[in-house]
């Protein structure tokens, strides 16, 4: 199992900490023929915009892209649920030959008349980039006729990686930002960015900020609402989580409206607390905010600490492999797992960039394997070689870990429990504990040998 070959080209995307010079290749397209765990541009746009619950999401292309993304992300809404429906222009061969613009227009009109959404997003899939539908002008026409913003999302699957899809989504969102009134927005107002309200995480985070005395104008995009996004330029700080997904929008808003942004993470006690402190520090002119923040952090940590110690005792010395979408998530996970006494022996991401991997290298212990855009064989090879007890990853990694007899924690959009914030840290500990120490491993062949 472990003497599988590694492609020559792939060797540059794998680094063993402590061996040789660090020069990891990343930010590249996957090699043709590799079993990458990555997805496409459309996927990137779809996951970023999907949680906006009162918008219409129309997927322009053949049916597959709509079917595979129908309500698969557990981004919760406290109100409308229009985002959980699946709308597709369902292009057929005829449309590929004669173009899909008419179909797109007719679909838009019918959907907007039926559902009265506050905005509409039209996702371009691969085929649109080839047949050359003028989606921009169809959207423009619908905007004028229907009186709501109808925004094209240029997410043709082949035009880059998932990251380019994030960018395309940000470009579309930027057309909404700045179109609403900023009246009644106070001085201490922020936007929460890159938080998708998986399992209600955005609600937890929002509550922390509100308890600090801050006003949250908009969440991008968890439990998202069009009206809030339109007026989000009234905030005085953008707090950006999840490295890749929404950074572009924060940059646009900085350029256009002079709103500064800071990058944070809400996973693990350390990063969660740092996030709150960093935000509080931004509003220096109001020392009350920092005072409240300290109180919140103290109370929250006091509340979970005894439980956390219990889990740490049980998990101490276990080894983990982390393979996630964005590298930023990996940073937090390493810290969070360390606070549970778990050592990280493999760390990798689908979309990390050079800076990300340098941070990752500095964080990791000697001997840790660092991977960019890994394939299942590499992942299983190093899991076995390094003796991992836990795998942190997404849907495609779960069954591989289980087959190997390794515990698993879902840190992707399919997770059912909130992992953000202080309560999330306990949830993470509980999930890791229950999987790593599951009695099933007593029956699993791998464990029987050792």
């Amino acid at each position: 199992m472990t003497n599988i070959p590694i492609l020559k080209e792939r060797k540059k995307q794998i680094y063993h900490k402590g061996e040789g010079v660090f020069d990891l290749t990343c930010d590249t397209k996957s090699l043709a023929g590799s079993i990458s765990q990555r997805a496409c541009v459309f996927c990137g746009s779809r996951v970023v915009l999907y949680p906006i619950a009162d918008a219409l999401h129309l997927i322009h292309g053949p049916i597959g892209c709509a079917s595979y993304t129908w309500d698969i992300r557990g981004a919760l809404s406290s109100g409308p649920e229009l985002h959980r429906m699946s709308f597709s222009t369902d292009l057929r061969e005829r449309d590929i030959i004669f173009g899909g613009e008419k179909k797109l227009y007719a679909s838009l009109v019918q959907l907007i008349d039926t559902y009265r959404p506050n905005a509409a997003f039209v996702y371009c899939t691969c085929i649109i980039g080839i047949i050359g539908d003028d989606v921009d002008s169809v959207c423009k026409r619908a905007t004028e006729e229907k009186g709501i913003p109808v925004l094209p999302v240029h997410s043709e699957g082949f035009k880059g990686t998932k990251k380019d899809g994030y960018k395309a989504a940000c470009e579309s969102l930027s057309m909404l930002v700045g179109t609403g009134s900023v009246e009644n927005i106070g001085r201490y107002a922020i936007n929460i960015m890159g938080e998708f309200n998986i399992a209600g995480e955005a609600w937890t985070i929002k509550e922390y900020y509100e308890n600090m005395g801050l006003e949250v104008v908009a969440v991008f995009t968890g439990d998202g609402r069009v009206e809030n996004i339109k007026r989000s330029h009234g905030a005085s700080l953008n707090v950006v989580q999840c490295s890749g997904s929404i950074l572009r929008l924060a940059q646009i808003m900085e350029e256009k409206y002079g709103i500064p942004y800071i990058r944070v993470s809400y996973f693990g006690i350390e990063d969660m607390s740092k996030a709150l402190y960093d935000v509080a520090a931004h509003f220096k002119d109001n020392p009350g905010i920092m005072k409240k923040t300290k109180e919140i952090v103290r109370n929250e940590i006091d509340a979970i600490y005894p439980d956390l110690l219990r889990y740490k005792k049980a998990l101490s010395g276990k080894k983990a492999a982390i393979y996630v979408g964005g590298a930023f998530k990996a940073f937090s996970m390493i810290k969070a797992l360390r606070s549970l006494g778990i050592d990280v022996v493999l760390a990798g991401s689908q979309t990390g960039n050079k800076d990300d991997y340098e941070v990752l290298r500095d964080m990791c212990d000697e001997g840790t394997v660092i991977l960019d855009d890994a394939n299942p064989l590499e992942l299983s090879k190093y899991c076995i070689e390094k003796g991992a007890d836990l795998f942190v990853g997404g849907v495609k990694e779960r069954p591989i870990a289980y087959k190997l007899g390794i515990g698993f924690c879902d840190h992707n959009h399919e997770r059912k429990i909130s992992l953000a914030g202080y309560s999330g840290m306990i949830n993470l500990a509980k999930e890791v504990y229950s999987s790593v120490l599951s009695p099933v491993w007593k029956f699993a062949p791998q464990r029987m040998i050792s």
Partner: protein, 458 residues
């Protein structure tokens, strides 16, 4: 209510699919390819396609699903995907070492106009295909057909590329199981085994997508039809194809290419369809039906006899794929249930006619639609409520909204297990189907009966 967006009034929709009851061809091609031993499916398109197919199949089976992709870029979309596919073939054989690569196309590569056989020729000339290894392909543009036709096309491609006559007919039967679960394929093989028949099943995902926990990650699990077997299908004495839409094209191709006569049957769901299947095997192989199979049949009928009162005139709404729905409708009608709303997302000319003729004698009007969606299905259920819903996981929204008992059957099932291990075909599968139907209906009776009516013995 999750789907409160569904209105009772049915307006005509020409240009729009809402809540699809289908997906695109490539995923069907990928599923069929996984039924070949040592095969790595390959998606000739952008990276997202295969990521979605792998994720969906993984969610459905809770198993690792391996496949590769040509990772199209903007360059490939302008200059064609030849370079990508050539590089992919080279990389795949170097690193993942499959016996065979099954390439399926996508909307992107089809529209660009990539000629896959020509690219294979180039790969061959360049020595990229190692000795004893194979590549083959099916055209599966996403804007034609659905997941079902994708499965059918890939299954047919197995015949087109591999089936060969060896000059004489062997005493052996080909069984093409159609798009059913690994558990169903296993059951069909068991029945053929009970009959003492020498057979080849293709594709065969048993032991591929229901593999045991072994402590190892196997890129190529034990199951699947072998290439030698695929070659031999051309010299079998006959073919039994189950499900006209999914298996018909491959069966007909075997007939015209290798003169292997075929019998195309409905999927063996329920009493009558299983009778026809067993009878076809019996006749084709010239064997007798053993007592063991008679007993199973008798047990199935025994359940229907015992529980007839609970089935009587219960209205059912079904959504799924044509082959499944036709067989299921016949089964339900045969046990006195009333399938009144039947929707498939796949366009199939004969479908509506078949369903209407199967339900002709029923005292209710029947709504049937080929090329429909879940939205229409929900509207029909709203307008004429039913006692039971049968369909894939997405029907759970409708079941919740309308508070109707629901059985998961079809593809995909993202929220329950069982389909990988327990069959729904043949007599024993029929028994499981009835158990599921009765559980759903009787749990509802228990839930809804007053304390006074609440019954211990049912």
């Amino acid at each position: 209510m999750l789907l409160r967006h569904t209105s009772k009034e049915i307006a005509e929709r020409k240009s729009l699919t809402v809540n699809p009851a289908k997906t695109c061809q490539p995923i069907g091609a990928m599923y069929a390819s996984l039924g070949i031993h040592g095969c790595l499916p390959h998606s000739h398109g952008s990276q997202g396609c295969y990521a979605y197919h792998r994720s969906t199949l993984t969610r459905h089976y809770k198993e690792p699903v391996m496949a590769a992709t040509s990772s199209f870029t903007e360059g490939a979309s302008v200059f064609g995907g030849q370079a990508n596919l050539l590089q992919a073939i080279d990389n795949i054989f170097t690193i993942y070492d499959p016996e065979i690569i099954a390439v399926h196309t996508t909307c992107l590569s089809e529209t660009i106009g990539d000629d896959v056989p020509q690219i294979f020729g180039k790969a061959e000339t360049d020595g990229k295909i190692p000795e004893g290894k194979y590549v083959f392909h099916a055209n599966t543009p996403s804007y034609v057909g659905t997941h079902v036709t994708g499965f059918a096309n890939m299954t047919k491609a197995m015949v087109d590329y591999f089936a060969k006559q060896n000059g004489h007919k062997e005493n052996r039967i080909n069984i093409i199981p159609g798009w059913v679960e690994p558990s169903d394929m296993k059951e069909i093989k068991r029945i053929a085994g009970e009959l003492g028949i020498n057979f080849i099943m293709f594709p065969d995902t048993d032991n591929v997508l229901n593999s045991p926990q072994t402590g190892k990650f196997e890129m190529y699990p034990k199951g699947g039809v072998t290439i030698d077997e695929l070659i031999s299908t051309g010299s079998s004495s006959g073919t039994v194809a189950l499900g006209g839409l999914a298996s018909g094209p491959a069966a007909r191709a075997l007939d015209s290419k290798c003169k292997v006569p075929c019998k195309i049957l409905d999927l063996p769901i329920g009493i009558k369809a299983t009778d026809r299947f067993v009878d076809a095997l019996r006749k084709m192989a010239g064997v007798n039906v053993p007592e063991s199979i008679n007993i199973e049949r008798g047990q199935l009928i025994d359940i229907v006899t015992d529980m007839q009162a609970y089935f009587y005139h219960k209205k059912v709404a079904l959504v799924g794929d044509p082959d499944q729905l036709v067989a299921l409708t016949e089964f339900l009608v045969s046990i006195d249930m009333m399938p009144i709303h039947i929707v498939t997302g796949t366009k199939d000319k004969k479908f509506e006619k078949k369903i209407l003729s199967l339900t002709e004698e029923m005292p209710y009007d029947v709504n049937v639609k080929s090329g429909g969606d879940m939205y229409l299905f929900h509207q029909w259920v709203k307008n004429e409520p039913v006692d039971l819903l049968i369909g894939n996981t997405y029907v759970k929204y409708i079941a919740r909204d309308e508070d109707i008992p629901f059985i998961r059957y079809g593809f995909p099932i993202l929220d329950r297990i069982g389909h990988s291990y327990f069959p729904m075909v043949c007599y024993r599968g029929g028994m499981r189907f009835l158990e599921k139907i009765l559980d759903a209906l009787m749990n509802r009776i228990d839930r809804d009966s007053s304390e006074i009516e609440f019954d211990l013995v049912m």
